[in-house]
């Protein structure tokens, strides 16, 4: 087995977001989070429930359930879900923006809209995938809070914030989380070949650095075989980081 590529390290890092989640809907939005969810399910998180991206839940040998959009919204409200979404902007509290850049009244760039981000973040665990770790994404303040971060959740207080959790942020350079005393974004590991200085320089706010900073774990041979032979034999993953 030849060594893992950067994107394969990212897929395994995404998979780790769903470790110990049990029997819930693992929603990966976009190719790399989706491959991560699939990898988690066929290795250390076999109870995860996966959607085909349309309206079917898919098990090992085909459909095991039906999940049209109306039911996805129902499952989100019921909390039986952990989603990994994209983020056009993220701040140190984990506030996410996918709506627009600039003023909301007349944006310089209209993006997707808030989609399900407000409901996801208030209802169940949410993680983020950022294919290009840069100061354009990791900003001091996001322009339109779509998914809510820890400062917003704290301001709400209990009981409204009791289901809020931003689990993890996976980028092309590192893994970050919010397990710091003030719930600010913290560097958790850097991918092999990436320096801490590089991550700090590409982050537009002071990211917290723990005393011990490990490297993101390398995929096992078994995981690499699954990614290369079963989950993404066409190699679509290789086009995801440099777009």
């Amino acid at each position: 087995m030849t060594g893992a590529s950067r994107v394969e390290v990212c897929i395994v890092a995404c998979a780790e977001a769903w470790r110990d989640d049990g029997e819930i809907l693992a929603s990966g939005i976009g190719l790399i989070p989706r491959l991560g969810a699939q990898l988690a399910r066929c290795t250390f998180a076999p109870d995860l429930v996966l959607s085909d991206g349309e309206a079917a839940l898919v098990g090992d040998d085909g459909a095991e359930g039906w999940l049209p959009y109306r039911a996805v919204l129902g499952i989100a409200a019921a909390g039986r879900r952990h989603v990994m979404m994209g983020a056009s902007q993220l701040d140190r509290h984990g506030n996410q923006n996918i709506s627009c850049i600039g003023s909301w009244a007349q944006p310089t760039a209209q993006l997707l809209g808030v989609r399900g981000a407000p409901g996801n973040t208030i209802n169940h665990p949410t993680s983020y995938w950022v294919p290009r770790h840069s100061r354009r994404v990791f900003v001091d303040r996001v322009d339109m809070v779509s998914g809510i971060g820890y400062d917003r959740a704290a301001a709400l207080g209990p009981p409204g914030n009791r289901f809020h959790e931003i689990r993890m942020v996976v980028t092309d350079k590192a893994v970050l989380d919010f397990r710091s005393p003030d719930r600010g974004m913290r560097l958790r590991s850097v991918h092999p070949g990436v320096s801490v200085d590089e991550v700090v320089a590409a982050t537009g706010f002071p990211v917290q650095l723990p005393d011990q900073l490990p490297e993101t774990r390398i995929p096992s041979d078994h995981e690499l075989r699954l990614i290369r032979d079963r989950l993404d034999p066409a190699g679509l993953r290789d086009h995801e980081l440099e777009r």
């Binding site: 109306r70 919204l73 007349q106 997707l112 808030v114 989609r115 399900g116």
Partner: protein, 280 residues
Amino acid sequence: MADKVMSIAEVVGELRSGMTIGIGGWGSRRKPMALVRAIARSALTDLTIVSYGGPDIGLLVAAGRVRRVVTGFVSLDSIPLEPHFRRARQLGTVELTELDEGMLHWGLLAAARRLPYLPIRAGLGSDVLRVNPELRTVRSPYSDGEELVAMPALTLDVAFVHLNRADRQGNGQYLGPDPYFDDLFCLAAARSFISCERLVDPAELRSGGPAQSLLVSRMMVNGVLETPHGAHFTSCVPDYDRDEAFQREYAESAASPQAWSRFRARYLDVDEAHYQRAVS
């Protein structure tokens, strides 16, 4: 039972400027595009469009029919950002009520149940409440005392949905994997119109799929239209997939006023029959 079959012109003739119109489907999937094209050709103005947005919103905005869009996203799916909607937002030529997808669902549900609002957790703490200052929260009257968003009913004047099959009385059937929110759009509206790929007799409707594929009942429907290939260029599986090549051509028409004029002359300033010949 009443025969509710109508023509596209008859349906559009029932619309007035300033109306609130709900459109079924999702993104670039099973949109009633034949009706959307007819509205785009009309002289109607100042419409409010409520939709899980796709090219229905982009086309109507580009054609100058829309004052306000009520949505959680506008996307062409395989092309993530809807270029005509983007352009209008960046020029400041369209108003927006931006909601979480679940809030939009809840607003339609409240309207369908004739309730003034429904409580929902989605939206709390987010800038959806900042950009929609008319939204209010409500505190649970029970011992939990939880504060929730009071999502107001999104009551529609008219709803349009596109289904695979229907009968002349207005029973409608979807044959794809997802009903989206089409039945809810119909119940949230004072008047609902369904277009379909093919009008069939009730016996064929029954044999075409299981009873639960009969998504829309005639008691929710005021008019039925047969518009073959009428969701084009959005998908209408299993009858046809999205026309990706045409969707790219549509997206490229947002590049400049000249590109839009060419697209409009070729595909919109013609009737539905000419459109279908031009794209076949």
